[in-house]
């Protein structure tokens, strides 16, 4: 099984002779551009397209079709070529769809010469684009890799080619479209491929008599060997004309003479549901050679009886980010519901057992003797059987969710990803804020290996409270009383670092109030990288100063928003979103500061001031019930796994686990250095 790529992901290629299969729901044209090490495409002789389908090492189809096979021999490419961009485009001049958004997402597969699938990629998220670069094969330090591109152009093929640096892009695009318009009737029937049920070398059912309908009139730059290989018939040949050809030669009409001999066997007659016109003596095929047989099948996903193989981003949404967000929440709901079914079944099995045992005991005749024993045994057997069926159903669902998590987790962008995910190593300061943020993981006792990312929408609607109290330590009492506090502060710092990293440079600022300076050690990653607005405020004076400044900001921004005069804010008001980390609340707070903090908690989120409280609720008992609304308004998180989060559907108690960077890893440091660098550059 090949690797399922997501946009931007790359994958090493273990073989040099490749076959790239493209399946779209509608007829498309396919081609490839060759670029040097700088990505420059030197003229139209470096573009393989339906009008010039054969270049050294690259072979593309000569007609539009819903399914394509491109042959690439990386070893046969000229030395100068470092990059092969595979593109597809909708043919113009037909009443086809207006953009890829209107058709099923095209699916591409890269397989080796022997048929083993190396990588696949589904081009999701396309909209008005009519031409798109699907994959890029590129040479990096002597080795070839494939990257999932999905880079679309609403202005179609001319824009795509122009973007590749071709000087006469418009002319070439016109030539390509002309070449396929003439070949348009020759759309190939869709081979009934189903990658789930037929994993290994699929016979290539692409050669049908219709291929010869492709006219040989080609643009001037067409490479001579390719056109010479075609039977020089300009009129559609009748099927019997091709009958004497040996079946194995059926490959050549589509793949050309330079194609290395393949191990594929001859086509079996039932391959496309009709009689094989290439078999000598076979029944005559009366269907019109140009007629498309059947409807193009949608992208392969369903194999009967088997759950579909999970794909990252398999949910609704306008962008991959939104789709992943919805998918993660969908997994969350599915796990909640399947667990509800399981628990309900077990409860029922237990209560039924109880009842049946009671019945057996209530009857004095069966209380003693073999009849009673048999009744008890039967009751136990019924319970075991029901519980076993419930467990089987639950395990089936859980296995599917785990398989889904395995493809979703590596595809998550930094804002959603765990700290140990490789995406953090390729971290770049983003240009746009993300949709949501991962606060940690949640799981249920039954779902042991499966952890669901806990994603919350940004900007945060409520403040966060990291509980540093002993209640959070729960079952694992820590020897050192300061340890829970340090751990809670580390969680706060990891969250702040994540928030800083996923926002564009300068759009998110973090301030810290640490009255007693107790959090110095935990705050090191932030202070060392220099990403704080100002050093942590200490002492009662620092507390009131910071709170006053933020209160003023909230007030001014609220006024500006209400008055519709966002431009007239004073120059000293930072328009970036603010995160205030308060350590050891309510230490160092007087009544006035507490009131200000409550104001920030209530009014802040709407105008971009967010609260991250690290506190032990027990220390605020002096305030009595007055602070209860504050605690309730904050989302409680714990530094150690604790089951206190309820889901919105059933209300299970989910165990929350914070997302902490690996202990001996410099990833947070590296990321924050990048953030600080981007900020000074601005």
């Amino acid at each position: 099984m090949g690797t399922e790529l997501v946009r931007g992901q790359n994958h090493p290629l273990s073989q040099v002779r490749l076959e790239i299969r493209i399946s779209a729901g509608v007829p498309v044209l396919a081609g490839a551009t060759l670029g040097d090490e700088h990505g420059t495409v030197h003229g139209r002789q470096w573009v393989a397209h339906p009008g010039a389908s054969h270049l050294p090492g690259v072979q593309v189809p000569r007609q539009v079709a819903a399914e394509h096979r491109l042959a690439v021999d990386l070893a046969a490419l000229p030395e100068a070529v470092h990059r092969v961009d595979v593109f597809i485009a909708l043919p113009t001049g037909t009443a086809g769809p207006l953009g890829f958004g209107a058709v099923p997402a095209p699916h591409t597969t890269v397989s080796g010469h022997d048929g083993t699938e190396l990588a696949c990629y589904t081009l999701t998220g396309l909209d008005t684009e009519t031409a798109v670069i699907a994959l890029e094969l590129y040479r990096r330090q002597g080795a070839w890799k494939v990257r999932a591109m999905g880079h679309g152009y609403a202005n179609g093929l001319p824009a795509l080619l122009a973007d590749q640096g071709l000087p006469d892009a418009d002319d070439l695009a016109t030539a390509i479209q002309e070449a396929v318009v003439q070949g348009l009737p020759g759309t190939t029937p869709v081979p009934p491929t189903d990658r789930d049920t037929r994993p290994t070398p699929a016979p290539a059912p692409q050669a049908t008599p219709t291929h010869q309908a492709v006219p040989t009139s080609q643009p001037a730059t067409a490479s001579p060997p390719a056109s010479a290989s075609q039977p020089a018939t300009t009129s559609p040949p009748s099927p019997p004309a091709s009958a004497p050809r040996p079946a194995t030669a059926s490959q050549s009409s589509a793949s050309g003479p330079a194609e290395p001999p393949r191990s594929y066997g001859p086509r079996s007659p039932d391959e496309d549901g009709g009689p094989d016109p290439h078999q000598p003596g076979g029944p005559v095929d009366y269907t019109h050679p140009r007629r498309t047989r059947g409807r193009p099948s949608p992208p392969p996903s369903v194999a009967d009886g088997q759950p579909a193989r999970p794909v990252a981003g398999d949910a609704v949404g306008w962008s991959m980010e939104e789709r992943l967000y919805n998918q993660v929440w969908g997994m969350f709901e599915d796990l909640a519901r399947t667990t509800a079914a399981y628990r309900s079944a077990i409860d029922f099995a237990d209560s039924r057992l109880e009842k049946e045992l009671d019945q057996a005991l209530a009857d004095p005749r069966t209380r003693l003797g073999t009849a009673g024993g048999a009744a008890r045994e039967a009751a136990h057997a019924r319970r075991t059987q029901l519980a076993g069926r419930a467990r089987a159903a639950f395990d089936r669902d859980l296995a599917q969710l785990i398989a889904e998590a395995e493809v979703v987790e590596p595809a998550l962008p930094p804002a959603y990803a765990r700290w140990d995910s490789p995406v953090w190593h390729a971290y770049r300061v983003p240009a746009e804020p993300p949709m949501a943020l991962r606060l940690g993981d949640v799981h249920l006792p039954e779902s042991a290996p499966l952890h669901i990312p806990l994603l919350v929408r940004l900007p945060l609607e409520r403040g966060l409270w990291i509980d540093s109290g002993p209640s959070a330590a729960g079952a694992a009492p820590l020897t050192d009383p300061t340890e829970p506090r340090h751990l809670a502060m580390s969680v706060a710092v990891a969250l702040a670092a994540r928030l800083l990293a996923v926002h564009p440079a300068g759009e998110f600022a973090v301030q810290v109030v640490d009255p007693a300076g107790a959090g110095n050690r935990a705050l090191l990653p932030l202070t060392r990288a220099g990403v704080l607005v100002s050093p942590p405020a200490t002492g009662a004076a620092g507390v009131s100063q910071t709170l006053e400044r933020l209160t003023r900001r909230v007030d001014l921004v609220q006024m500006a928003v209400r008055g519709g005069a966002a431009e007239s804010l004073p120059a000293d008001v930072d328009t970036a979103q603010q995160l205030l980390i308060v350590n050891d609340f309510p230490h160092g707070f007087d009544d006035r500061s507490v009131t200000r903090l409550r104001y920030l908690a209530d009014e802040g989120p709407a105008v971009g001031v967010h609260l991250l409280l690290v506190a032990d609720r027990g220390e605020a008992t002096a305030y009595g019930p007055l602070l209860d609304p504050l605690w309730r308004s904050l989302l409680r998180l714990t530094p150690l796994p604790d089951d206190h989060l309820a889901d919105p559907w059933i209300g299970h108690a989910w165990t929350y686990e914070p997302s902490l960077p690996p202990a001996a890893d410099r990833i947070v440091h590296d990321v924050l250095t990048e953030v600080a660098g981007a900020r000074t550059k601005r």
Binding site: E333, A340, S344, A345, F348, A390, W649, I650
Partner: protein
């Protein structure tokens, strides 16, 4: 080919090719009866509600109705409350989707009921029907028409129950009284 069920008739929900059904939709449609006499053109709105009760043994385990649209396990879904009924198009006004494969193993019967939330009796309702549709291809499997509306405000329409590895549907059609499914519980139990 749809089967017109009569009261108490049971059909097996197996497809002709032997495969069992995977998802069914219980659809409910109705119209307010035209009233004669003065202001007869003023049609009164009638709010019927479809509910589904999931039973394990004879114990109700979960209920899907307009305030709880999805069963906890996610296998039974209500498409939402319709307060006025259909204008006579004959489509479903309320529908309950059942994913039979995902119904928890201990649930062995699902009973579908209809209540008049606004209190009108079924005399004022016309063209009321309940039908079972194969959700995978939209084919109607069975239809049960509420013939001759009487002086009652609720009806226990039908139930699907496990039979071997598949499911069967039984038309019940028993009248009852009540505003929501809770009032119907005593009336449902004899039909389990």
């Amino acid at each position: 080919m749809s089967v017109n069920l009569s009261k108490g008739q049971a059909i097996s929900l197996e497809k002709k090719d032997g495969a069992t059904l995977t998802a069914v939709r219980m659809g409910l449609g109705w119209q307010a009866a035209k009233r004669r006499g003065l202001f007869g053109s003023r049609t009164r709105e009638i709010d019927l509600d479809a509910s589904a009760v999931l039973f394990a043994g004879a114990e109700p385990k979960d209920v899907v109705f307009f305030r709880h649209l999805v069963s906890d396990d996610g296998s039974v879904r209500h498409t939402g409350d319709n307060l006025v009924g259909g204008a006579g198009q004959g489509g479903d006004d309320e529908a309950i989707l059942v994913d039979l494969q995902r119904v928890p193993v201990h649930i062995d019967q699902i009973v579908f009921t209809v209540n008049s939330f606004t209190g009108q009796t079924f005399q004022e309702v016309q063209n009321a029907f309940c039908r079972l549709v194969d959700e995978t291809n939209g084919q109607e499997l069975a239809r049960y028409t509420l013939a001759g509306g009487g002086e009652y405000t609720a009806q226990i329409m039908a139930k699907v129950q496990r039979a071997g590895s598949g499911w069967t549907m039984t038309a019940i059609g028993a009248p009852a009284r009540g505003r929501t499914f809770q009032d119907l519980m005593p009336a449902i139990l004899p039909h389990l």
